[in-house]
């Protein structure tokens, strides 16, 4: 598999350390010291606060009377951020001894909390490899994952994870706060007690949001799958690889092609990489890749026999049909691009190389010939289904490879459309004058392409992208059904779209879950309403009153947590 670290690696480590902290605390409390535990808890809360700064709305965008009400998750974000601010303030107020860097804590609880903070910090660093700030402080994306990182589904999954950590940590730290105190520990214990109360408040607000609009397993999987933004090494094939290595090569080359397309799609009009040679090469190699995708998907459909996999097989066949349509779209686009040129010639952009690599890698997987290349010539037979996935357990990996390739085709098609649009808007699209009618006597080898040329190319790119998206969506359905490792790709596309919508919305904090058909934020039963349901109460009047009580309770909690410096934090449950 691709060996890029993912956010899940660090979140899992943080979860493991928290579990170890709780277990260590339950096993032996003798070495625990309030001052030390408070210091370590502050480390964790500090990094959690930074996560919240990344995702919570800024104070300037806080709801006012004129703005629409926040959704459950919007409220949870604000409450969580405030809770962490209060928790950190209490710990700083009452904790004046901090360990020097590099000095290990004495107790297991404190050591594991320190390790949790390190894991969370590293995870946040990983997320930030996809983001940047411009000179004016505006958020910029450094990869195609940037929109996913900042999308509401991912942010909600992240908030739910932070709440889980807070919920696990608080009871153990509260035990330390409530242990026998002495003069030198009393202040630290007060700080710990207050901080734990705020951690429980954080968890409570997130749980309320989760009940109203649950974080799906898919969204959580997507959060865990966010990879480190580093260039992947180019796959080098020597022809002797086992089929499993070819899966990896296809996935790696698809990820490289997707990233190159993302980078090239935003190239300015003057870019020397914007050449017809590149556009043609991408269209030709993507035609071949889409053709390989169709071969692979049909072969996988043939490999999945049996009544229990009928749905998967049907999805694979639909995906193969759509991949065929994408191939036809690419072919028409390639032919249309064969009729144009640009003012910069004989230069291939990096994205053309990546598209060629993907065609090569998918070809090695699709054909029986282990030495197949784009210039191998005719006469190559498809790889038999039994060879494509020798064991049933290989099917998910093989499907992941095909799915990644289909998904990369979407990025390539949209990037192609943007490059054509950019070239046309800058009058850089040309046609050979010899191809024009004799009546047009132009004393130069090339002339500007007519608007119809550009419109036709844009229309073809759009159609191709839509067919590729359909192929990827169908492959994604099959991937979800057999839990192929690529199943997060569909969620990533959805999250990126939601993230794009949210980032362009003037009401970003409220944009996440989306209103229901009545135009009101979605609301699921609260605690009182749920209790009536459990009792079998169906009376609309009683249920409405229960809903009002739930809503009033939620407002009361929000109001209480929002009054900074006026109240002591709520006491946490032991």
């Amino acid at each position: 598999m691709t060996t890029r670290p993912a956010f899940g690696d660090f979140l899992t480590a943080a979860r493991r350390h928290v579990s170890a902290a709780v277990a260590g605390h339950q096993a032996d409390r003798s070495g625990e010291h309030a001052q030390e535990v408070a210091d370590s808890l502050l480390h964790v809360i500090t990094v959690m606060s930074r996560y919240l700064q990344d995702i919570a709305p800024t104070p300037g965008s806080m709801p006012s009377r004129a703005s629409p009400p926040l959704t459950a998750w919007g409220q949870a974000r604000l409450t969580a951020r405030d809770a962490l601010t209060h928790a950190a303030r209490h710990l700083r107020q009452h904790t004046w001894v901090t360990r020097a860097p590099g000095v290990a804590a004495r107790s297991e609880l404190a050591r594991q909390l320190d390790a949790t903070a390190v894991a969370l910090t590293t995870g946040r660093d990983l997320l930030h490899t996809h983001l940047a700030r411009d000179l004016h402080g505006a958020r910029q994306f450094r990869s195609e994952w940037g929109l996913v990182v900042c999308s509401p589904p991912t942010e909600q999954a992240l908030l739910a994870e932070l709440a889980w950590l807070a919920h696990q940590i608080a009871p153990a730290c509260l035990d330390v706060a409530r242990s026998a105190s002495s003069l030198d520990t009393a202040a630290a214990q007060r700080g710990l007690r207050a901080a734990c109360g705020w951690l429980q408040a954080l968890n409570g607000s997130v749980q309320a949001a989760h009940r109203a609009d649950p974080v799906s397993v898919t969204d959580r999987d997507l959060l865990l799958a966010i990879p480190l933004n580093v260039p992947l090494p180019r796959p080098v094939l020597d022809g002797g690889e086992p089929v499993a290595s070819l899966y990896d090569a296809v996935i790696t080359s698809a990820e490289r092609a997707r990233h190159a397309a993302w980078v090239m799609g935003a190239q300015p009009a003057w870019s020397p990489h914007l050449t017809a040679d590149s556009l043609r090469h991408v269209a030709a190699t993507s035609t071949v890749t889409s053709h390989h995708c169709e071969i692979l998907l049909r072969s996988l459909a043939a490999r999945t026999t049996g009544s229990e996999t009928a749905t998967v097989r049907a999805s694979l066949l639909r995906a193969a049909d759509a991949a065929g349509r994408a191939r036809d779209g690419w072919l028409h686009l390639a032919r249309a691009l064969n009729q144009v040129d640009t003012d910069t010639m004989r230069h291939l952009a990096p994205t053309a190389g990546e598209a060629g690599d993907l065609a090569l890698c998918t070809g090695r997987l699709a054909y029986a010939d282990a030495a197949w290349t784009l210039s191998s010539g005719p006469g190559h037979q498809p790889r038999p289904p039994q060879d494509l996935a020798p064991h049933p357990a290989d099917v998910p990996q093989a499907l992941a490879a095909a799915h990644h390739a289909c998904d990369a085709m979407i990025s390539q098609a949209y990037a192609q459309r943007e490059r054509i649009r950019t070239a046309a808007s800058a009058d850089r699209l040309l046609v050979p004058t010899r191809s024009l009618p004799d009546s047009m006597d132009i004393p130069r080898p090339f002339a500007p392409a007519l608007p119809d040329h550009a419109h036709a190319l844009l229309s073809l790119s759009q159609d191709t992208a839509e067919a590729a998206a359909e192929a990827s969506a169908q492959a994604g359905e099959a991937a979800a059904a057999i839990r192929a490792p690529s199943r997060h790709l569909t969620a990533a596309r959805v999250a990126a779209r939601v993230g794009r919508d949210a980032s362009t919305s003037p009401q970003r904090p409220a944009a996440s879950p989306g209103p229901d058909v009545t135009g009101h934020p979605r609301e699921d039963p609260g605690a009182v309403q749920a209790a009536l349901h459990r009792l079998g109460v169906n009376s609309p009047d009683l249920l409405q009153r229960a809903a009002d009580i739930d809503r009033a309770g939620a407002h009361l909690i929000l109001e209480a947590t929002g009054r900074e410096h006026q109240h002591e934090p709520p006491e946490a449950e032991p």
Binding site: A276, D277, R280, H281, A283, A284, T285, T287, V288, H291, E294, G324, R327, D328, L331, A334, R335, L337, N338, Q339, D341, M345, R346, A359, G363, L374, S375, S376, G377, P378, G379, H380, Q381, P432, T433, R434, D438, D441, P443, P445, F446
Partner: protein
């Protein structure tokens, strides 16, 4: 059509005539390749890549300063661009023509006095070699 293009290229005399014949040959390749780009054929990928190379080669020649502004020989109206030959036969013919073009353009590049003509011929010769490699059965 390939026979006509081959004959024109063999008989072309002088730089302008060679450039004109090679340009027309690349155009002719495109018109015979498109109809046989059939996904069901084992030649599909080869034909797709060959068409891109043919367009590359043609566009390279369009930049040659000595290429005449208009075709020296108009395509006869009765000539059909596609004769219904099987893909394998088309591949063979296009590969043969591209082999000849590569040789002729390489020789022309060596003797052309103008730098622009030399560069155009070299680039187009490379495209022709690529096509030959993609469509030759023995490759």
């Amino acid at each position: 059509m390939m026979d006509t293009a081959q004959q024109r290229l063999q008989e072309a005399d002088g730089l302008a005539a060679v450039l004109d014949a090679a340009y027309a040959a690349f155009e002719g390749m495109l018109s015979v390749i498109y109809p046989v780009q059939d996904p069901a054929s084992g030649l599909f990928a080869a034909f797709v890549m060959a068409a891109a190379s043919a367009a590359d080669g043609r566009n390279a020649l369009a930049l040659a300063p000595s290429l005449p502004g208009h075709p020296l020989l108009a395509v006869p109206a009765e000539q059909k661009p596609w004769s219904g030959e099987p893909p394998e036969r088309v591949a063979e013919e296009v590969a043969g023509l591209s082999h000849l073009m590569a040789e002729r353009l390489t020789r022309t590049a060596a003797s052309a006095p103008d730098t622009g003509d030399r560069a155009a011929c070299r680039h187009a010769a490379q495209s022709a070699r690529d096509i030959c490699g993609m469509l030759s059965t023995g490759a």
